[in-house]
């Protein structure tokens, strides 16, 4: 069966996907002190990819991804490990977290924890894995006679 896009889904996806990605990034950033974090954020972005998949098929998923999912998983894994051992290099222990306070004049103060970098790595791993599931396992259906 050839893949037939649905107009309704396609239009829906166009508005849903950016919103979902924004929400996922928000959840990633607030994850340090509030419910959220890399894993949940990654899953939300994965849901965005799922919407893309439903609307446009596996090929569309590959098209919207900025980088190859494998590279994404590899980079995310490397970032997460690098942050967890960074603590040891700086004299603390495995996975010890640091915090950076930034005073951005009139915007206000923000604090960035090293956990955010770790979470960003987790985020990449999760998004990459979801993308791989969709592009590899989802592709079969379209190519089959």
């Amino acid at each position: 069966m050839r893949f037939r896009p649905s107009l309704l889904l396609d239009v829906g996806a166009r508005s849903m996907v950016p919103t979902l990605v924004l929400v996922s990034l928000y959840v990633l950033v607030v994850g340090h002190d509030e419910p959220g974090g890399g894993f949940i954020g990654g899953l939300l972005a994965g849901v965005a990819l799922l919407v893309v998949f439903l609307a446009g098929g596996a090929a569309q998923v590959s098209r919207v991804l900025p980088i190859d999912p494998l590279t994404m998983v590899g980079a995310g894994m490397s970032v997460a490990v690098a942050t967890s051992v960074a603590g040891m290099v700086l004299g603390a222990g495995l996975l010890d977290a640091g915090k950076l306070e930034l005073d951005l004049a009139w915007i206000g103060k923000i604090s960035v924890g090293s956990t955010l970098v770790f979470d960003a790595g987790v985020y990449l791993v999760v998004v990459g894995l979801v993308a791989m599931v969709l592009t590899r396992l989802g592709a079969r259906e379209e190519t089959a006679p």
């Binding site: 590279t71 590899g74 894994m77 490990v81 051992v85 040891m88 977290a97």
Partner: protein, 490 residues
Amino acid sequence: MNVLASLPVAIPFAAVGLTLLAWRRLALQRAISIAATAGSLGVAVALLIAVDTDGVAAVAVGGWEAPIGIALVADRLSALMLVAAGAALLGVLVFAVAQRDTDEALRAFHPVYQTLAAGVALAFLTGDLFTLFVAFEIMLTASYVLITHRARAGDVRATMTYVVVGLIASALFLVGVGFVYAATGTVNMADLSLRLADVDPAVRTALGWLFFMVFGIKAAIFPLFFWLPDSYPTAPTPVTAIFAGLLTKVGVYAIIRTQTLLFPVEGASTFMLLIAGLTMVVGVLGAIAQGDIKRILSFHIVSQIGYMIMGLGFFTVAGIAAAVLFVVHQIVVKTVMFLVGGLVETASGTGRLRDVDGLLHRFPVIAVLFLPAALSLAGLPPFSGFVGKLALVEAGFDAGRWVVVGVSLFASLLTLFSMTKIWAGAFWGAPSANLVRRPPSTMLAATGALVVLSVAIGIAGQPLLELATRAASDLLDPAAYVAATLGGGA
């Protein structure tokens, strides 16, 4: 100390990320993978020396103190296991790289292999029951990929058994962790060893046997071993070798750790000894009935697990020390045996004894590698198996458990018999026509290095037994372990 206890887990995880990034460059993947595995082995050796001189090393991960956060705890047992596992992982990795036309050339092999290594290291180091569950999951998920990756149509059923049994055991494990948390309010093992003393003895015993069963499935003890001999031989040689050398032994490690730290008993456990005896005999009888090298060896995995459980069952310092030494010996020897089996298959294209003859004349080097490992498995002096079994038998005499000791000697005799069966079947006789391909020298060298290590374990038997005895005294008197863990990352 902190750094040393963290690195064995961190290095393989870093290698997972890097090998994924190097997806399109196999040579780079190999370099990263081998460097990481060799590095882990080096760290493990340093950790063993450090722990043996300075005592237990504990890391509170992320700076969260022990009963709340996750703790990595390295005592002598963990460090010893890490060293043995590291050696086996490195040997098998080099073997896999040298063996052409296998799994290894598929680019997923290295990331998955490193994931397995990370899971194994985490299982040995964690001081937390839930993290132990996570470690088992990391290790088993990687093993599911490795075993099903290249399964031929007929093998899928056997590998599915492996996956399903593994998942059931994991589910039971998780339920067990839930029960423990419900009964005590903690999953930190050091904390648990203090709090479980106040729990109703009946509940405590039930929990103890639940964990014994869960890890028993992973370790393949009687009657929970049925999944192993069917599924292991279907995988490619390097995968089977590392499964045989490591995975069941991680189960045994978990049994030793939980039974000594969480559920200690007074005196020998007759039930455990009964299980141990049955495991030894049923395993070896199964091996005798087989006609394929890998299937014979798979049943021997089961049989040898019985010896380790026997050592633990005595519940004396000597018994547990012998069991620990025996695990170390088995990790190396079992890996070697499967690698030799793989060499035979490479040379002849088959592992069926009926179809292979005269290896001794055609490829004497394989025979040279096989013989010490086989005699060691059977427990003949001066090889490593003898040291382990002698220690077990002495511990059994001290504990006054004559029957199970007799059974273990009988099983050893049958082991020797089934080794002579391989020897007579594959190595003697006129060379058969299918002995066409000489295995690459690197494969022989990797196997040879592990053979040398196994012989070295036999020669260094006395110092190793002393080390194992110190490890066992720590296990039976966990005060230092508890203090180091709860003291908060000293």
